[in-house]
């Protein structure tokens, strides 16, 4: 809220979260959270992918580059992947990308990987709540990356 005496104030920082959710498990889980009327912060914009294994490092980096303050990747539990071993790749890729972010001086906790099944609506909501707060504390991505 800007007061007449001060200059125009920036609106308080609201983290922008991009979530890549796999079609078969985590997206269904997110759906379940919705139909169960479980609340979770509106900061997350969800992108549905067929499999979390499809989420390439350039996709995550591009999300950051375009202004996402946090990126979360949700996939099926190991052993439950619709494509058998798609999430094996996710399990190697995303943690290694977190390592790289850290080495490059970017907070690794801006990127998170979790396994969420179609039945885990509550778990979905909890994770999103937690992650939103983490990213809120980390501050805007603009601090570490020139966006756009």
């Amino acid at each position: 809220m800007s007061s007449p005496e001060s200059n125009v104030q920036q609106p308080p920082y609201e983290p922008k979260i991009i979530g890549f959710l796999c079609n078969w498990c985590s997206y269904a889980g997110a759906d379940l959270a919705g139909t169960s009327r479980l609340s979770y912060p509106p900061n997350i914009r969800i992108v549905r992918v067929q499999c979390s294994g499809r989420v390439s490092p350039e996709l995550v980096l591009k999300a950051f580059h375009e202004g996402a303050d946090g990126v979360i990747v949700l996939g099926c539990h190991i052993g439950d992947c619709h494509y058998i071993d798609g999430n094996h790749r996710t399990s190697k890729r995303i943690p290694m990308l977190r390592q790289l972010l850290a080495y490059a001086g970017i907070e690794p906790d801006r990127l998170r990987l979790e396994w969420v099944s179609a039945a885990e609506g509550e778990r979905f909501a909890t994770i999103v709540k937690e992650f939103t707060e983490t990213v809120r504390e980390l501050g805007p991505i603009k601090r570490v990356m020139v966006t756009g």
């Binding site: 490092p57 350039e58 094996h88 190697k92 943690p95 001086g105």
Partner: protein, 266 residues
Amino acid sequence: MLEALRKKIQEIMPQVDGVIALRRVGKGTAPHLFLPGDDLSELALSPQFPLPTPVRIIQAKYPDKRFAVVVRGCDERQLVEMAKRRQIFLDKLVMIGVACTKEQAEYCRCEMPFPKQVDIGETVEGIPQTFLDDFLAKPREERLAFWKHAFAKCIKCYGCRNICPECFCKECVLEDNLWVTSGTVPPPFPMFHLIRAMHTVGKCVACGECERTCPADIPLTILYKLLKRDVETVFHYYAGADPNEPPLMDSTIFLADMDMLHPPRR
């Protein structure tokens, strides 16, 4: 060492259709295919030059011929990784292993300056990678400033990608305007370099040629070697070690516990 190499090549030549090695050109060296009957007086060993890419190019055109290639440790490991991706054919390749000298090992800060089979030269010890820990000792903001500065010098020559034998994709993501805005120097931070770094994961044998050919003196091997160390310690995957092992991404290795990697947060 050169004389010993010459003898070895003369020994092997009758069994193969050609030997891929370095030839003296001017004051430097260049990859060359020596054919049976060729004069070997121009054979050279230094300055070093990565040979796996010439192997790929020659084998692609002549898949039925047998070749020998002179390999240092990194060359051999690269060839193994390329073989896993069907870029070269190990069954048609004879490797002549050359151990690096102490000077070469220090120049490359190499952990393993020798191939599995050493035919020429004496092996020396690898160099401890303490510079990686020195780098990690910097606080996060300093690391960020370090790379922002380094990448701002980038002139997008693609030298790091061009010289890397593991980079053979006909359509490279780095050239796609969707990921890395084309036509600008420096490329927007940090897209080019972090995408490339991720693409080296599981493939990089830390030969250091990328850093060597970078006109802007960007210390790429710090990043790539840090990732390589993680791959080895957590996934127990050693690039170039075992040709029968599938590539890291293809394998059914998975990270059971996300906390097994401890990204430096500070």
